[in-house]
Amino acid sequence: MAVAVRKKSVGISFSQPRKKANGLLLRIAPSKEKYLRLYYYMRLTREFEKTILKLYRQGKIVGGAYTGNGNEATSVGSAFCLKKEDYLFPMHRDLGAHFVKGQSVRNLMLQHLGRGNSLTCGRDGTGHYADPSLRIYGNISHLAAMIPVATGVALASKLRKEKSVVMTYIGDGGSNVGDFHESLAMASVMKLPLVLIIENNQYAYSTPIAKQFIAERLSDRAVGYGIPGFTIDGTNVDEVYQVCSEAVDRARRGEGPALIESVTMRMHGHSAHDGAEYVPKKLLEEWKENDPVANIETLLLSKKILTPGLKLEYERKIADELDDAAQFALESPYPPAEEAAEGVFAV
């Protein structure tokens, strides 16, 4: 069967209504220091996921393992716009966002290994945890189910005049779930500080986007809610950061939600067990030229912000962090079995 492939990179485009189209582009070039942090988080994400896959293949991760290979610029660049008081509701391909928002490598490792000292005490795995101290609230498996919850947090922020912004994500496939619609209906009418990023990574499990929508852009859905919609190149961390910043700023100013479609490619299978034979080789090859981590590396090297020496330093630091976290997690015990019976209710 032929798979219809959409133009992969679209640059920034704006769905109707084209509010504030001008003055947005390249408003802020990140500072050198910011660039390096972006680089670090993207590289850390890439390496963390490699470790996860290794642990999965060794049988040490017993449940599912998801990576966001290809999505690093989106998850890192978007979360990078958030302040401490903002809320992050990441999805399964957004490990980078966790790190940016302050989560430790150890904690995320413990989560993946289901240990008793993980943030969920081993009750749930992967990014399915919450860390209120960092204002990170992970997802449940049901796609789109966290968008209403994020909307409720945005409502609380508005009611309490906190000026906290809530950022959350959904996939191209998940954006078809009813909760996507109900949440945007609510958030738009109430002008809630919600930024919703659709990670259009060409596939939902085995299903290509041609079978998920026929609109020109997924950001076209913004039109129906009377909110701004943007489509961006999700492999370009600059673009991600800048457009998300604008969306976050307007949300913080009380101007309501925005919808951002970030166009990327899911370079790995759906989860660690999936070989993704259904993805045309050619498509992967094309996208490989647009690897977000390579992209920023090249950019920073060319700008001399990154030097080969510094790069090595980063790589070592990250390798050390990962070694430490993996070892720590592997040595940590599972939770005492009997504890499973407790904690259904708060007291």
């Binding site: 449940i140 409720g152 947090v153 009611l159 909760d179 949440s183 609510m186 708060a346």
Partner: protein, 325 residues
């Protein structure tokens, strides 16, 4: 002490809690200027303002999910389903988000969902449900089912103060037909405690919500006409379920009829029967009987609806049969 209808008691309880705790707010369809389809929140908008009495878009999943979110962020949302029937449209938010969050994340989700429920008002298949059993089976949701104005006020206050998601089922038929004394002061009815609404020694009836009243009438009739002494235990809370109260009553009387308005099969009565059959087995002098609505949708025609529902007569007959055993 005031003499209030059931719905007035609910309103009173909400009002007091909103005065008491500024993190409590209401959300739902038509609850603001209109005061709600049943007028439970009439006057609230004017008094508490638009930030605390929120008319939402028509979208149950968003309402329930947003309640989870607001609760996670430390507020205390009280969501109204216009009819309990429509909770099915937001089912996922309740059973997967609201219910499981504390277990998984160790974060409280202090939210209340008000669910006007029940039949007998000619609402037909989609305005008559008693949907408590679905949620009863989902670990992590507290469930209360008041039958009197006193309990209604005490339980809505307890629900709002509870750190967990609480489903508050309010029977529409009781709204204006049931009146009672309701203290003006600040009291709560503890969630998880059943109430012996009538003491008796021959047979226990275990019931809750709408059928509590029909059971009490049946018990009174049987006292007058047959000199039977029927104990009526009103569960009041379904989660937690007051097992001690159930077992004590059965241990005393040795015979038990379980009555509810919801469909029979897989209803709350099944669990109550199973508990008794396991933990009060030796005290039983007769089979455990259940009486509930038929296992069909709620039919619209008044004659059919009457046939479908449990009522005083059917309770009387079931009790007589049990007495003969």
């Amino acid at each position: 002490m005031a003499f209030l209808t059931y719905i007035e008691a609910i309103s009173k309880g909400m009002w007091e809690e909103m005065e008491r705790d500024s993190s409590v707010f209401l959300l739902g369809e038509d609850i603001g200027e209109f005061g709600g389809a049943f007028k439970a929140t009439q006057g609230f908008l004017q008094h508490f303002g638009e930030d605390r009495v929120i008319d939402t878009v028509l979208a149950e999943s968003a309402i329930l999910g947003a309640s989870v979110g607001a609760a996670l962020a430390g507020m205390k949302p009280v969501a109204e389903m216009q009819f309990s029937d429509f909770v099915t449209c937001g089912f996922n938010q309740l059973v997967n988000n609201a219910a499981t969050t504390h277990y998984r994340w160790n974060i409280p989700v202090p939210m209340v969902v008000r669910l006007p429920s029940g039949a007998g008002i000619h609402g037909g298949p989609f305005h008559s449900r008693n949907p408590e059993a679905w949620f009863f089976h989902q670990p992590g949701l507290k469930i209360v089912v008041p039958s009197t104005p006193y309990d209604a006020k005490g339980l809505i206050k307890a629900a709002i103060r509870d750190p967990n998601p609480v489903l508050y089922f309010e029977h529409k038929r009781l709204y204006r037909h049931v009146k009672g004394e309701v203290p003006d002061d600040d009291y709560v009815v503890e969630i998880g405690k059943a109430d012996v609404k009538r003491e008796g020694t021959d047979i226990s009836v275990i019931t809750y919500g709408g059928t509590t009243h029909q059971t009490l009438e049946a018990a009174e009739l049987l006292r007058q006409e047959n000199d039977m002494s029927v104990e009526v235990l009103d569960l009041r809370s379904l989660v937690p379920l007051d097992k001690d109260a159930i077992l004590s009553s059965v241990r005393k009387t040795g015979k038990v009829l379980i009555v509810h308005e919801d469909n029979l099969t897989g209803g709350i009565g099944a669990e109550v029967a199973a508990l008794i059959a396991e933990f009060a087995f030796q005290n039983l002098d007769a089979p455990i009987k259940r009486l509930a609505a038929l296992d069909t949708p709620t039919p619209y025609s008044p004659t059919s609806e009457e046939f479908f529902l449990p009522n005083k007569e059917k309770i009387v007959n079931a009790l007589k049969e049990l007495a003969r055993y």
